[in-house]
Each structure stands twice: as structure tokens, then as C-alpha cells.
Amino acid sequence: MTRFSAWNVFWNGLKGQKGWSRQWRDPEPKPHYDIVIVGGGLHGLATAYYLAANHGLKNIAVLEKGWLGGGNAGRNTTIVRSNYARPGNREFYEHSLRLWENLSHELNYNVMFSQRSHVALLHSPGAIDAASRNYNTMRMTGTPDAEIWDLETLKRTIPHLNYAPNARFPIMGAAVQKRAGTARHDAVAWGYARGADQRGVDILQQCEVRGIEREGDSVTALETSRGTIRAGKVAFAVAGSTSRLWNMAGLGKLPIESHKLQAFVSEPLKPLLDQVVVFGVGGGHFYISQSDKGGMVFGGDIDWYKSYAQRGNLPIVQDVSEAAMSILPCLGRVKLLRHWSGLVDMSMDGTHFICKTPLSNLYLNAGWNYGGFKASPASGWYYADLIANDRPHERIRNFDLKRFERGLQIDERGAGPDPKLHG
């Protein structure tokens, strides 16, 4: 496997690109693996990578029903941040951000993590206080880059936002995380896949799980479109499809609903916006950044109703465009190039699950709501730790399925047990 470097790019340029090989193998499934991860998205691939890299485990397969990274890995709006304030989430996302910061080097794959600042606009003194509480928490728990900006600082930094006094919600300041930003989403999936593959993990694409064989309270094998695969441990990482697999394992209900989240990209433009800008007030929700290719990448709320269809509808397209124009009124003549939709597991408190299950050798990673992309490094890291050691790390012990029975709701929004409200 050729190492990625400027030198090799140069050398292969001279050599007609002949030196590059497959970035990951296309192996035949083996009849048995010690660990089978179901789901070749970011979380599954990261988990496989860390199982191999952190825990030295080898006999691992990742099963992907389509092509790796074909789900939400390639459908999100690529924002990476750690501005969560609830205990549990706070440490988890901060750890994730730290992994992001060195991920290109760790994977030897440029995931283009651009720490360009995440700027959440604030529109009232109350909102400034509420954001300050969260950003104070960040400051005091190891996130030195959390800042509250006054209006002057904001105007100086992003002069073309809508500062008009007759705006529906005049801007009063911003909560800023400077180490936050965006990353090249597909590259993350490919980088983890390549890294896992290099360490011996079998990535099995076009391998759909169609049945789960159980013996008592353990899983013995998976029936797949590429044959039966026996497994020592089975780990789900199938955002959006978790309930379907859960049912296949005969496990009943979950605190999850599948919803769809739309995303949008404009035609490519010369640099127009250097930060991630976020708006959320008066029932509106909107986030925007510019990709390195120049497209304005943006999104808003989920479509409110439960859905497994990966396509959007017009009301949210309008909502999001209204917000876009209200925040950046120069976007009027910028054209929407494409909009699409992804399938998200919305949980009952807006927080995810990385935990053991009622079956002794089955593990669950699910319920990522909006947080899946930014979480993927830490998700893989802790999930690998859980699978390897068969016990949750201290930091993730509350990301279990039983937390609602205990009355613990890790609810950043305070929206209560209604999945659609955690968007």
C-alpha cells in the first residue's frame, strides 16, 4: 500500500499514476469472524479501524449492504463541533473533536478538517445568557476555544450577514467555537476504510444482513446476501435502519424513530463565507458553510414526520431557503444545485446510544439524531472499546438503552421524549 504524501503524488504524476493500488481490498467473506460490524458507514468503519488500531484485534469484518459510506456519511452537511453542554455529551464530543484534529495524519488520508469556526448567531439577551451557560461549561471542561462575540466583533468578521435593524430577528452577537468547522465527509469514510483494511479488516460491500441466528441470548451467525457469516461478537452501526435489524434479532422496540433530514448545496462560488454560520430562533433552524469546492452547503430542520424515504419535500426546502435569505441576503441570486435527504435515527432525548444489548454478544451504536458526522471518530473509538472489553468505558456509561428507565434524559434542547423535536 502506497503511503499518501506530496512525494508520491509527484512521483505518480511522473509515472502516469501507476503506483496507486486499491484503497481497500474487495475480499470474499470468510465463514467466521471474531467481530462482525454491521454497517459500513462512518461509525462502522471507524469502529473497525479503532478495534484494529487501538485494541490490536484482527479477525474483523464490516458488512455493508450497499457501498461503504453510501448512507449518511455522504449525505450530511459536514459540520464538526463539540459545543454540547450536557455531562456525557460534553466529554464525548470534545474527545471526538480532538480525534478530528489529527485525523488526517492518523489515517494518512486528507479528510480536510477545516477548523474555520462555528458561529451560532444570537438574537436576544436571553439567548446570549443561555448560550453563555453552555459556552462557559465548554470553557471550564477543556474547550478553550469557546467564545461569545459581541455584535462589533461579528460584523468585523462576517460583514455580509443581515444586520439590518428591521430584520425579523436582529442579530445581537454570536456563540463561537473556533476549533469547530467542516470536513470532507466522503474522505473520512474512505480514510477509515483504508486504515481498517490496512490493519486486516475485511470490508464486505454488497453484503446485506437478511437474518440473524440466535442461540439463547447470544447471536451465532448472520445470514447475508453473500452467505452465512458466523460471528463471535456482532455490532450494529446502521443509522436509520437500526429498528429493522433490531427486529431481525427479535428484540422488539427501541427508543428511536427514523426521520429524514434534507441537505442542500448551491453551485460552486468563489469564497463567500469563511465560517460555519448557524441560526436558530423563532422556530427556525439553519446552518450554512462553504465547501472547499465552492458550493454553499446548508440545511435546516428534519421534515417533522417519520420517514424511511431518502427524499425531501418542498416545505422544508422553502423553510431553509427563507432562513438562508434572512441570514445572508446576498444568496438571492445564488442557485441551489442539488437537494437530497438522509435517514436519521432520532432518539427520545436527542442523544445517542453506544451500549450493550439484551443479547450477550450483540452491541448497539445508534440514535445519532443530528450528531452523527461530528461524532464518528469518538463513536468508533468508544464503540471499539466497548466491543473489545465487553464493558462500557466510564465516559459512555449513560449512553445506554436503560437510561430512560432511570430518568436520565441527556436532552440538550429540553424538548422531551418526542423524537421529531430533537432536530
Binding site: S243, K253, E257, K306, A309, N313, L314, P315, P417, D418
Partner: protein, 98 residues
């Protein structure tokens, strides 16, 4: 644009409605145990396919409706008032009409 045939108002765009949630949940009595309440409030079948779900015609008659809808295709198979009395009254009326 999902279009919902409201039994009271006729065919309307879904943006007039508010999605409620899983219509198959049977909420236990108020004095039921916290375990029963936990299951009703926190656990979902999360059906991929046809499910019953509640919507409110918020910007119309404000009635809560039970909608039978395919979550894969968004196709709507049936709609009835969530209030059982109203649902049966409406059904009787329709029967009488025929």
C-alpha cells in the same frame, strides 16, 4: 408534498398539519406503573412500511387524525379522526350516504 385527505376539510397539503407520533401507542392509565409508562413514552416499533400515526390539522379544523401511511413511499392509505366517537359517527354517516 404529502397531501392528506382530512375527513373534515378534504385534501390538504401536509404543511397544514402537525405530525404527532406513533398512532399505535396505547397510553396506560395515569395510575399505571412507571414501567408501563416508560414503555409507552420511550419505546417505538419504528415501522418501515405501513404504520398508523397521528397528525393534527393544526391550520384547519384542528382535529387529531389517525393516518395510515407508508413510511417508505409516503403513500396514505386511510385517515380517520383520532376521537373514536367521532370516527364511528363519521363512518355511520358515510354508510348512510351510501
Amino acid at each position: 408534498m404529502i397531501r392528506i385527505p382530512c375527513p373534515f376539510c378534504g385534501m390538504r397539503d401536509h404543511s397544514e398539519f402537525t405530525y404527532g407520533g406513533d398512532g399505535s401507542i396505547e397510553y396506560p392509565p395515569l395510575d399505571a406503573s412507571k414501567e408501563e409508562w416508560h414503555d409507552a413514552v420511550f419505546l417505538r416499533d419504528n415501522i418501515c412500511g405501513v404504520q398508523f400515526e397521528t397528525w393534527q390539522h393544526t391550520h384547519g379544523c384542528r382535529m387529531w387524525l389517525v393516518v395510515e401511511r407508508d413510511t417508505m413511499t409516503h403513500e396514505i392509505l386511510s385517515v380517520r379522526p383520532a376521537h373514536p366517537g367521532l370516527a364511528s359517527a363519521l363512518a355511520n354517516e358515510q354508510e348512510a350516504d351510501q
